[in-house]
Amino acid sequence: MTWIRYSEDIVKLIALLIVLLAVFFISFMVGRYPIAPNTVLEILTAKIMHITPFWTPNMEIVMFQIRLPRIIAAMLVGAALSAAGAAYQGMFRNPMVSPDILGVTAGASFGAAIAILLSWPAFGIQLSAYIFGLIAVLLTYGIATWLGKRGDMVLRMILSGIIMGMLFTSFVSLTKFVADPENTLPAITYWLLGSLASASGESVYITAIPILLGLMLLQALRWNLNVISFGDEEAKALGVNTGRLRFFVILAATLITSAAVSISGIIGMVGLVVPHLSRIIVGPNYKILLPASAVMGASSKLEDRMK
């Protein structure tokens, strides 16, 4: 009886969403600037209803200009990396795969490093990281296709991804070598460490566009992911065009991973671990696994932010 199974999944998803909502509110209360929890709640309600402010203007700045962009950034990044990780793990039929397997992180790092070296403004750094992330994956995909039709496409992609990753990582080292040790070098190093500290309002809202687009595309491909995780032959036998599917999954995952990395720097773990945790909770069916991963990824990054 499928509808029972289905509704059980829905219940789990709603539970995860409630956790996310709770973490969302709690993370407004955490930070170096002391604001009492009930004040936080009242400042938030004041956005909907009229409450005479008894708090200082600085508290509002802290909440809406410092914490809110970071909270949204954390949720976006977490959801993006987890969903991309889940999709890749199925597509490559490999549990150890994470979203940066095709070299997107290394490419984005190089883009950011070169932009910092050229003293571009924050937005330029983000854009350059994004574009170089895309370029790296494009090169990986190109090489894997160019290598020919023989052998396993998955293996070719992973290998060329590793090569691209190494290539761009060495470009990053080269950039660091020529960087000015007084100001650009520390800036590059901090960027590579990965942090949401510099996420500001505008940069976050721009990043949201590719991430949400990519997430929607992945959502639309959910059942195809189920099919392809059985292997190419089986998928073809069931009438799925595996080449085209692979292209779209990679496109979506790259759009969102590159965008995530461009605001947060290198953040590991989430894209590898969260899909597995979600699999433990909701099972391997991508119809429910993909949204569950996104939601769990969002809460896990939020918890990270609270540290």
Partner: protein, 360 residues
């Protein structure tokens, strides 16, 4: 080839290599013995044997390159560290440093390049990886550092002693001048009770946001100039802080290191970047328009160089313009450059330095 013969060959090879290395080691020592030596103690409390006559110097500490220049050893610097891409005023005041090779990075040294230069002595700041590498290479390395004006005087005096009598006299003259200026400012600022002093935040880097805490020379000049360091609960130089922490401190005055600010087309330092930032609008210093770019001369005035003597005067006048009307920073700057740096600074140049601009 059998396994045994490979083994034998590599054994012979290794023995030969060891022999060559041992011989090379002996040779080095014999040359070193010919020179006359003196023993000094550096800031790391290490006793070092150095040549009595110093002709070739390597200096990995940017601020200390300025000190050497002031003490008359500017043309003896043969190896140095990249100081702002050679665009700083140091290169105007001490053109000879253009010929010095850049062999140091902030945390490392190209040891082979350095050995080719054959320095008599290497200056470096304390706890540097460089120090241990150089000790292995047998080059005398003097580690220097300080966190307040008392330490600064010690450091300058030690450097003078190492360089010779003329340099020692110059260091003493500088210290007398510094003491006089500190005393003159403290007469006024010592009267100001702690709670009336403005909270001063010193920003070292904008993105990532780095500030200077206690036990730094920055903390010390803020105190002499009659302020109090806003970052009381942070210890050390260039510490990373969150924006929320800055809001908790809510400083009355913000002084930004000139190299943390972007350079505009006309050479000025862009303070507007902070003044217009929406997140910073809640800070008192921004509301009261008390954000200043720090002057930047032969070295950054705010950090560990000889121009700390100008920094205290500039900071005092910036914090208390009424009480320090008699301080003419342009005049003081030109006097300092003429007397101590042997450089005739024009009024226009002095003004560029004070507003944190690079040389034209």
């Amino acid at each position: 080839m059998s396994y045994k013969s490979v083994y034998r060959k590599s054994f012979i090879f290794a023995t030969l290599l060891l022999l060559i290395l041992a011989l090379a080691g002996c040779g080095g020592k014999q040359v070193a013995r010919d020179q006359e030596k003196v023993v000094i103690t550096d800031s790391a409390k290490v006793e070092i044997e150095i040549p009595a006559k110093i002709e070739r110097i390597a200096d990995s500490w940017p601020a200390h390159n300025e000190v050497l220049t002031m003490l008359g050893a500017g043309d003896k610097i043969k190896a140095t560290v990249d100081i702002k891409g050679g665009k700083s005023w140091l290169y105007i005041v001490n053109p000879a440093i253009k010929d010095a090779q850049i062999v140091f990075t902030p945390n490392d040294v190209n040891i082979e390049e350095l050995m080719k230069i054959k320095p008599d002595i290497v200056f470096t700041s304390i706890n540097n990886v460089v120090a241990s590498k150089l000790k292995e290479a047998g080059i005398p390395v003097v580690q220097l550092f300080f966190t307040d004006f008392a330490g600064l005087k010690d450091c300058f005096r030690t450097t003078g002693t190492i360089l010779g009598p003329a340099a020692k006299a110059k260091a003493d003259a500088y210290i007398a001048y510094l003491d006089e200026k500190i005393a003159k400012i403290k007469v006024v600022t010592d009267q100001i009770p702690q709670e009336q002093r403005p909270k001063v935040l010193h920003i070292n880097s904008w993105d990532p946001l780095l500030i200077d805490g206690t036990t730094t020379i920055i903390d010390n000049w803020i105190e002499i100039a009659g302020g109090r360091n806003a970052a009381v609960d942070v210890k050390g130089n260039m510490k990373s802080v969150t924006m929320e922490k800055v809001m908790v401190w809510n400083p009355d005055v913000i002084i930004v290191s000139s190299n943390a600010l972007p350079i505009e087309a006309d050479g000025t330092r862009n303070i507007q970047m902070i003044m217009d930032n929406p997140v910073w609008q809640g800070i008192k210093a921004i509301q009261n328009k008390k954000v200043y770019a720090n002057p930047d001369g032969a070295f950054l005035w705010d950090r560990y160089g000889a121009e700390e003597v100008l920094q205290i005067q500039w900071a005092a006048k910036t914090l208390y313009p009424e009480q320090f009307q008699d301080i003419d920073i342009v005049k003081e700057t030109r006097y300092f450059y003429k007397t101590f740096m042997n450089y005739d600074l024009s009024e226009a140049e002095a003004n560029r330095i004070i507003s944190g601009k690079n040389p034209e």
